[in-house]
Each structure stands twice: as structure tokens, then as C-alpha cells.
């Protein structure tokens, strides 16, 4: 019911959707992380941005267009975020 039972005949793939804040959006978490990294003694750190990554197990047959639909409608908010997909 909750962990969907996947049909074991279908081959599954892992898809990674990476969602990062748009450059124009304030990213205080990224700024705080940059500061903390400097505190840990790593010099020369430039901009740090923090986003989300969503790892999906999907049937091999899932069309790319469907993955884009989900990434755009649900996993990211185009007003503030950009996403990219990797398999």
C-alpha cells in the first residue's frame, strides 16, 4: 500500500532531479554554509548554493517528457527554482 510493490518484470532506473534556487533568489542557507566552510579553514570559497535533490526509482520505460512534467509541476517551483535531470 505504501511502498509500492513494483512489478519485478519491469526494469527500474534511478533518476536524479536536482533543484537549485535561481541566481536572483536570496539563498541565505547557501551564504551561511559558505561562511561555515571558511570557518573550517577552506579558503577561496566562492558562491555556495543549496538546493534539493530528488532521487526517483522509475520504470525504465518512463518517457522523458513525463519526468520533465513531474520535475516542473511538482518537484520545483519555476518562480524561484531551476531544475536539471540526470539518469
Amino acid at each position: 500500500m505504501f511502498e509500492p510493490i513494483r512489478n519485478e518484470n519491469l526494469r527500474a532506473m534511478k533518476v536524479l532531479v536536482t533543484v537549485l534556487p535561481k541566481p536572483s533568489v536570496l539563498d541565505p542557507q547557501g551564504a551561511a554554509a559558505a561562511e561555515a566552510i571558511r570557518h573550517l579553514g577552506l579558503t577561496g570559497v566562492g558562491r555556495v548554493r543549496i538546493g534539493k535533490v530528488i532521487e526517483l526509482e522509475l520504470p525504465d520505460s518512463t518517457p522523458d517528457s513525463e519526468i520533465h512534467r513531474i520535475a516542473k509541476d511538482l518537484l520545483s517551483n519555476p518562480v524561484i527554482e531551476d531544475y536539471s535531470i540526470s539518469k
Binding site: P21, S24, V25, L26, P28, Q29, A32, K52, L74, L75, N77, V79, I80
Partner: protein, 227 residues
């Protein structure tokens, strides 16, 4: 006037809204479950605060797909009154009923406190009982209340007088020091172009009883009840 207070899984200011509204003469409120699809018999909708779907993924991102939200959209499209408070504001933005988005507070922490906001426009059914420039003391309680919209959207919001309330200090000054979360232009709440949908981060329902330190939230509900 009868209000529907939408209950999503994870809503937690739903009861507070019902209590506050039922205490107002001439108003009443009832819960509407997120799996329902009808708003028949209601004159207005409140999308309350809380953590719908745990705020997982993004605040409001999952709630927007709830069955009731389709009905709320058509209710709004036909001119119905929709008020989104805190998480409700986030849901309205995610649903596209209001422009922009709410992101992580600049200070990174959840902030719960009394906050002054200034009424920027009384040209709405939500603020018509207030006076322009009036400073209201209304609590905020959010971790992701930093309002963001791109420059073009902001310009349009200003041009159309859609910014109804801004964060300010007790004297009504609007500046960085009086901005609790980093919102662009200190925006605390906006309405849509047709002025029947209003979302704000502060909680007017928490400012309707003197025992809680402020009754300034009443003016928003009184605006709605005023003919």
C-alpha cells in the same frame, strides 16, 4: 457570512480560524475536508496556516493538488472571496492564484512573534474597514515567509495596488530592520488582480482576542463582513 475553512492533512491553524470567525457577530465557519470537492453554501474560503503535507518538498507544493483546490480555483475565478493565511498564502502562490513565492526566511530560523504591519491599500474587501497607513499588530509564525517575485511581477503588483500589507515597525516605518524575513519590499500580503484573493503571512486569527495581546486582526474579518 459563512466561511469554509479548508482542512488539509497537516493544517494546524484550522481550529483557530474557526474559533476566531465564529466569535464574530454575523460570521460563521465550518471545516471543509481536503478530499471534498464542493463549496456549496459558503460565501468565503479561508485556507488556514499549518504544515499541509508536512510542508514536504516545498510549502504548499503538495496541497495544491488536493481535490478541494480545484474547487477553490473555480470559486475564485467566479469572484468568490479567498483568504490564505501563512501556509494558506503559500498554497495560493503554489496554486497560481497569487503571483510570486515564499522562500526560507533570511535569518534561516522560524520566527514567531508579534509583528507590526502597515495597511498599504484599503481598496479591497479584505482591508476596506482599515485606514490607509494604519499599523496593525499581528503575530507571525513561519520559517518560509520571505516573499519573492521577480522585478516585473513586483512592478505589476505595485502598479495595480495589489500589495495590501507590508512589514513595518511600531511607528509604521518600512525598512530592513522592520523586515522579519527578508521579503522583497517588506511585502507581508498581496491580493490578485481581481482583488478577491488575498494571501498574507501574519495570522489575523491570532489577533482577535485581547487576552492574546492584540485585537488588530479583527479589522480584516470586519472588512469582509462590511457591506
Amino acid at each position: 457570512m459563512k466561511f469554509a475553512v479548508i482542512r488539509f492533512p497537516g493544517s494546524n491553524c484550522d481550529q483557530d480560524c474557526v474559533l476566531a470567525i465564529n466569535n464574530l457577530p454575523g460570521a460563521s465557519a465550518d471545516f471543509v475536508w481536503h478530499k471534498d470537492t464542493s463549496l456549496a453554501g459558503f460565501d468565503g474560503v479561508v485556507v488556514p496556516g499549518g504544515f499541509s503535507y508536512g510542508d514536504y518538498l516545498r510549502c504548499g507544493a503538495i496541497a495544491r493538488f488536493s481535490p478541494i483546490m480545484q474547487t477553490v480555483k473555480s470559486f475564485a475565478a467566479s469572484g468568490g472571496t479567498v483568504l490564505g493565511i501563512c501556509n494558506g498564502f503559500q498554497i495560493l502562490c503554489e496554486s497560481g492564484l497569487l503571483p510570486g513565492a515564499l522562500v526560507r526566511n533570511k535569518g534561516l530560523h522560524f520566527v514567531c512573534k508579534h509583528q507590526s504591519i502597515r495597511v498599504e491599500s484599503t481598496n479591497s474587501r479584505f482591508t476596506r474597514a482599515a485606514t490607509k497607513g494604519q499599523v496593525l499588530n499581528i503575530p507571525i509564525a513561519h520559517g518560509e515567509g520571505c516573499y519573492f517575485a521577480d522585478d516585473a511581477t513586483l512592478a505589476a503588483l505595485n502598479a495595480n495596488d495589489q500589495i495590501l500589507v507590508r512589514y513595518c515597525d511600531a511607528q509604521g516605518q518600512i525598512n530592513d530592520a522592520s523586515n522579519p524575513n527578508g521579503s522583497r519590499e517588506n511585502i507581508a500580503g498581496i491580493c490578485n488582480e481581481t482583488r478577491n484573493v488575498f494571501g498574507l503571512m501574519p495570522h489575523p486569527e491570532r489577533a482577535c482576542d485581547a487576552a492574546l495581546g492584540s485585537t488588530d486582526g479583527l479589522v480584516i474579518f470586519q472588512s469582509l463582513l462590511k457591506n
